[in-house]
Subunit: 340 residues, 2 copies
Amino acid sequence: MRPQACPLAAGENGVSELRRDPILRRWVIIAPERTGDLSPRRGGPRVEAPGPCPFCPGHEHLNPVEIARVEHGADWRVRVTPDRHPLLRIEGQLGPRGAGMFDLMNAIGAHELVTDTPHHTETWAELPVAQMVRLLGTYRDRLIDLRRDPRFRYVLVLKNRGAVWSRYQHAHSHVIATPFIPKRIEEELSGAREYFRHKERCAFCDQLADTLRTSERVIGQRDDFVSFTPFASAYPYETWISPVAHAADFGAVSDAELTPLAELLVDTLARLGKSCDDPAYSVALHSGALDGGDHAEFHWHWELVPHLGHELGMEWATGIFSNPVAPEEAARRLRDALPP
Amino acid sequence: MRPQACPLAAGENGVSELRRDPILRRWVIIAPERTGDLSPRRGGPRVEAPGPCPFCPGHEHLNPVEIARVEHGADWRVRVTPDRHPLLRIEGQLGPRGAGMFDLMNAIGAHELVTDTPHHTETWAELPVAQMVRLLGTYRDRLIDLRRDPRFRYVLVLKNRGAVWSRYQHAHSHVIATPFIPKRIEEELSGAREYFRHKERCAFCDQLADTLRTSERVIGQRDDFVSFTPFASAYPYETWISPVAHAADFGAVSDAELTPLAELLVDTLARLGKSCDDPAYSVALHSGALDGGDHAEFHWHWELVPHLGHELGMEWATGIFSNPVAPEEAARRLRDALPP
């Protein structure tokens, strides 16, 4: 008998929980409820689920609970609904507790699904700027709302495009509130705090000043916003978009600022699509921690990374990244990808 | 014109260097010389290079420089040769220097390719125990040799199997010496040191004691060695193999210990293959830092992770891991995979 491909826990083992690694001090979501996460190893993109798309206009009854919506005339343009297979559940208390030497708590948080656009397959690079403004405003407003919940310590915004592991084909993104500060963000915060202790300056501001001075790694600018490839880019064509002026909190972005930011984000993704043959990519917002205690040290930014099939196992094993495209070269190609 | 898939830096931009991320304090290898690393995005496994395999017996002249070999009678069983597309180069000085606010140095290190077996497609799960003993002894001896070089601060051993990004089809693994302690290892070292400061006990020893006491996450034991799934497994079917007795340095393993370790490693991989339908996987050695200053705090172990197509982009964006298979369930299935 051919063994079933990686069977999953089920039944009485089926309740998600948060477990803390005692050495790396990192919370892991043990999520046996998300049985769809192990996609077939040798498979291609997941096929569309049969039946009407629950995210397309006219099918709202298939996805009825609405956390937020943005309207334009009589129609909605952005909807926020609960994820139907949430990584973290909104109801309940954290209940932190020990188990022998180990620490765990309940898998509590928020996992919201954002329908980016009424159009089923529209990508971020194709969005009209006005629609990207609506979407960015939605993220800002969800961040402001979710941080009122005292159980949460971080809100992340994440867009995956073209990934084989996506559950839904309709253009969507995620807003996830966590009861801990995610490891990667904690590293960024603690690095920025240490830099500040040494210099009494924001590390991100210094990085931006150096980047703008040499300009080799700049891709584009709109008003106060700049897109660039970081000096120590861990991934080929890794790109950040950031305000030049110091700002820790994406929740404080004004409506007026959303337009140039949206323009630059759409423009950068179009350049990435042209340079890299329309790759799968991930985009994530990095904003300060929810308590606002990092006002001087942190600097919000969006990080974009295309998924180019470049992996060595080494990243997993050691955290060493090897990037075959110098960021100066990536920036040059992205600048040249679209005529002005 | 259809754009070329993610063009690479070349020509005058082609020299590798190490760049330090000023916020995350992580060294990244910017490696434009490794132009083969971006495999076709939608492609399957890389095709075999045309011509005779340079790693098969009889073709040694295609891969002539030999760093080490293990013989059995008149034949070699393991060969160690320089990687022909090294991530890091052995010749030269580090030359650490600044560039504006940034820090960089030359991409110096060792990158050795280990031919695991004379048999072209033999996997680790298929290796006779005597051959795995030769291989483990080779890693130990390379570790001892490479740490004599004062430029190096860590030696990593890494095996990737079935990965689409592999350059070679012949069964092989990597020994890589780095002039910095890799981020993931540094996190493990610093976590273990902090635990030791609190308790004056090794965190890994405590973890093992708890794991053996409950036994839910134990897969198997041979003499003093145990294979188990960690409490906060970040990946489905993540497995560690470790000595139960405290030991920081894999370089100090005796010949007599290699046999039960090899038995347990081969057995665990066979179980993984049976449970998970012969998955791609990575295996990495975690040993102490080269200066030996972590003798009391660290505990060497091998980490095994199958690549099951389970990715969310979230790991990249935030360092949050979501694992749909509880480690108790993974251990149970691995225990049951092969009859005793």
